[in-house]
């Protein structure tokens, strides 16, 4: 039983590593966000947008 569990763990870790490497995954990458459509249309380069619009304040 324990042997099977470790085998599953080992196969899982190696598979995850291989798939991750093929897809360019990096551990520790912060989560992604999406610019609101209106911000993209109106321009997103303003200081106000990045500090109060997207991040909600620093």
């Amino acid at each position: 039983m324990f042997k099977k569990l470790y085998t599953v763990l080992g196969v899982g870790v190696i598979s995850l590593y291989t798939v991750g490497a093929m897809l360019g995954w990096e551990l520790g990458t912060s989560s992604r966000r999406q610019l609101p459509p209106d911000a993209r249309q109106n321009g997103y380069r303003s200081f106000h947008f990045w500090h109060y619009g997207l991040r909600g304040g620093k």
């Binding site: 042997k3 590593y17 291989t18 093929m22 897809l23 520790g28 966000r33 610019l35 990045w50």
Partner: protein, 656 residues
């Protein structure tokens, strides 16, 4: 062969010396031992009737040894001082050789007589020590003394190549060497006669007898007898080999002498209850074995008495084996030739395996039940040494028998003793396997670690190495398959001075292209000098608005403190992110720096498909956590094992 036909001097019946080397022939009519001398035939007296031992051999049987044919022409039966008999068959070879084929406990030893090496004086019987190596033997044989004993000629049949006198007693030493080499020193003459040879099988001797199956068939059959004390019924499972049996009805210890039972003594009430009943059978790897006896033994170590029980197993085709039960651990035990074991101070080696000493103590028989092939008694004492190499344990038992005063040599100050060394190899049997084998349930589980109990999770090291190998292979394959890294952006940037220390400066790059499924590394370099630059970066997909943020902190400080120069940090920092969907991206950087009154100069580089070992390292750590925990458990397991040993010695865990 020259055949001499004559008349028995005792009864007048015809006797025949078929072999020119025969000295004595047993008269088939009156069982007189008839010796031929230069002048006449001489009656040496009547021999006893042979005890039926269930031997597959018989006079007249033919075989071949090393290409030379032989015929069994005589048989002598000798009594062992500890009880029981063994047979010696005399093989007359077609080329004139004369071989001695000894048969005991179902094993066969073929030896030939050799003249003593010139100038070498062999030790006298009272000089022999059990376990000593005998020097100066012919054939450059290096053999150790495995047994010293006293034999009495009791019966014979056919032609005998020496002057066999019925009832005559003589001393002998059995010698054992590696790979089945065997020898005997016969102290019936001085200097002793030397016999050297090998342990053999019937197949080695080319003996294929139809008599063997017939014998085996008879051996299997148990004998039904009645106790001479209480008249209760009892069964002998090995009637041709049993020397002692206990009555299951009145618990008397009975002597078995040629199929006849005689009362020896009443045993005290059993202090142990055999977990596996006498008469139980079980299918073991060697074959089906029947439990025919059980005994409890003990050792005293540091004032504490430790008990264990041993079950005697028997199969006529296999012989005797033991099942040892100690601290709820079980071992399947079989005898090994003493000459195959090499013993040093604290180790013993057998079949290229080294065993470490675990215990050395006097073991005593506490109580017995059932049948035994030697004259066992409560109180029987042996010195026992155990050597371990899990899952196996080599055990050595040394026993001594004082020779009675009437058998002592009159002019010797030193009293003669005989004895033997027995080596056995035990193999650990899990409790569940014992339950399955003997169809018993609910056996208690052990709470301790047995001397030779194998660590149950050693497999994990092999699995771990295997997974590491696979992970390295996968890492290399990924590295080769993904190709080289690719630079997608590079720019030198000047950030103008900040209005105040809390201010920031923002930079937006021109668009650049990212390929999909390739990780990203952003590297920034600034020639900071005892200061820092902190950047908050964003990669913005110009088409979809996807934002991936990352931090970069550059700080480099250095100086001299107490005459020693020091430095901290660096002028470069990198951030890694997972692959982004392929497309057009813009880099946004918002910076702050320590020397805010001055402009900050940066070089920023963005690459894809960068070899980065963090994921690989993480995979290796994930694969190693469980083995690391199991290694700690393994060390604890070995400490528990060796805490029970009087020799400590648990410096490694070589229980492969």
């Amino acid at each position: 062969m020259s055949v001499l036909q004559a008349q028995c001097p005792a009864c007048g019946g015809p006797v025949e010396f078929k072999s020119g080397q025969s000295v004595v022939v047993i008269c088939g009519y009156c069982r007189s031992a008839v010796a031929r001398t230069d002048r006449e035939l001489k009656d040496l007296g009547k021999v006893a009737e042979l005890v039926e031992t269930g031997s597959p051999l018989d006079i007249g049987l033919r075989g071949t040894w090393r290409g030379v044919s032989f015929e069994l022409t005589g048989r002598a039966q000798l009594d062992h001082e500890m009880g029981g008999q063994w047979d010696e068959w005399y093989a007359t070879f077609s080329n004139g050789w004369l071989g001695w084929l000894a048969e005991a406990q179902g094993r066969f030893y073929l030896t030939f007589q050799y003249p003593a090496t010139e100038g070498v004086q062999l030790p006298s019987f009272d000089q022999l020590q059990l376990g000593q190596t005998v020097q100066g033997l012919p054939q450059q044989a290096t053999l150790m003394v495995a047994e010293t004993g006293r034999a009495t000629a009791r019966g014979a049949k056919g032609e005998i190549p020496y002057l066999l006198t019925p009832g005559e007693t003589y001393y002998y030493a059995d010698l054992s060497g590696p790979n089945g080499v065997f020898g005997t020193l016969d102290y019936n003459e001085s200097p002793p006669l030397i016999f050297l040879g090998n342990q053999v099988t019937l197949a080695d001797l080319g003996i294929t007898t139809t008599r063997a199956p017939e014998r085996e068939q008879r051996q299997v059959g148990a004998a039904q007898l009645n106790c001479p004390k209480c008249a209760g019924p009892l069964e002998l499972h090995a009637p041709d080999k049993t020397e002692r049996v206990t009555c299951p009805n009145c618990n008397s210890l009975l002597d078995v002498n040629r199929g006849q039972l005689s009362f020896l003594k009443a045993l005290k009430k059993l202090s142990f209850d055999p977990i596996i009943p006498i008469g139980s059978s079980g299918q073991l790897p060697e074959g089906k074995m029947t439990v025919i006896g059980a005994m409890q033994r003990s050792v005293m170590i540091e004032g504490i008495q430790y008990f264990w029980s041993e079950y005697l197993l028997y199969n006529p085709q296999i012989g005797f084996r033991w099942l040892v039960h100690s601290d709820n651990h079980w071992n399947y035990v079989q005898a090994v030739a003493p000459g195959d074991v090499f013993e040093s101070a604290k180790t013993a080696s057998f079949r290229s395996k080294n065993f470490k000493i675990f215990q050395d103590a006097q073991a005593i028989v506490e109580s017995v039940l059932g049948e035994f092939y030697w004259k066992v008694e409560a109180g029987e004492l042996v010195r026992g040494l155990d050597y371990v190499h899990p899952p196996e344990m080599l055990s050595k038992e040394v026993s001594f028998v004082p020779v009675s005063d009437d058998q002592q040599a009159p002019n010797k100050k030193k009293k003669l003793t005989t004895g033997e060394i027995n080596w056995s190899l035990g193999t650990y049997m899990p409790v569940a396997e014992v339950e399955r084998t003997f169809a018993v349930g609910g056996l208690p589980r052990p709470s301790t670690v047995a001397p030779n109990q194998p660590y149950p999770h050693k497999w994990i090291y092999k699995y771990w190495l295997m997974f590491l190998g696979v992970a390295i292979f996968a890492g290399l394959a990924v590295f080769i398959a993904s190709g080289s890294k690719r630079e997608v952006f590079w720019q030198s940037i000047t950030l103008s001075p900040l209005p105040n220390p809390d201010g920031t400066h923002v930079f937006f790059s021109e668009p650049f292209e990212f390929a999909g499924r390739s990780n990203i590394r952003i590297t920034a370099e600034s020639q900071v000098d005892n200061s820092w630059v902190s950047l908050e970066g964003d990669l913005i997909n110009d088409e979809t608005g996807l934002v991936q943020s990352f931090p970069i902190d550059i700080s480099y400080y250095y100086g001299v403190d107490g005459g020693e120069s020091w430095s901290e940090g660096g002028r470069t920092d990198s951030a890694y992110t997972s692959a982004l969907p392929a497309g057009r991206y813009i880099l946004r950087l918002e910076g702050q720096w320590e020397k805010w009154q001055q402009p900050a100069f940066l070089t920023v580089k963005i690459e894809q498909n960068v070899a980065y070992g963090f994921n690989f390292l993480f995979a290796l750590i994930a694969l190693s956590i469980v083995p690391a925990i199991m290694l700690i458990y393994h060390i604890s397991f070995e400490r528990r094992r060796w805490s029970e040993s009087m020799f400590g010695g648990g410096d490694d865990s070589d229980d492969d």
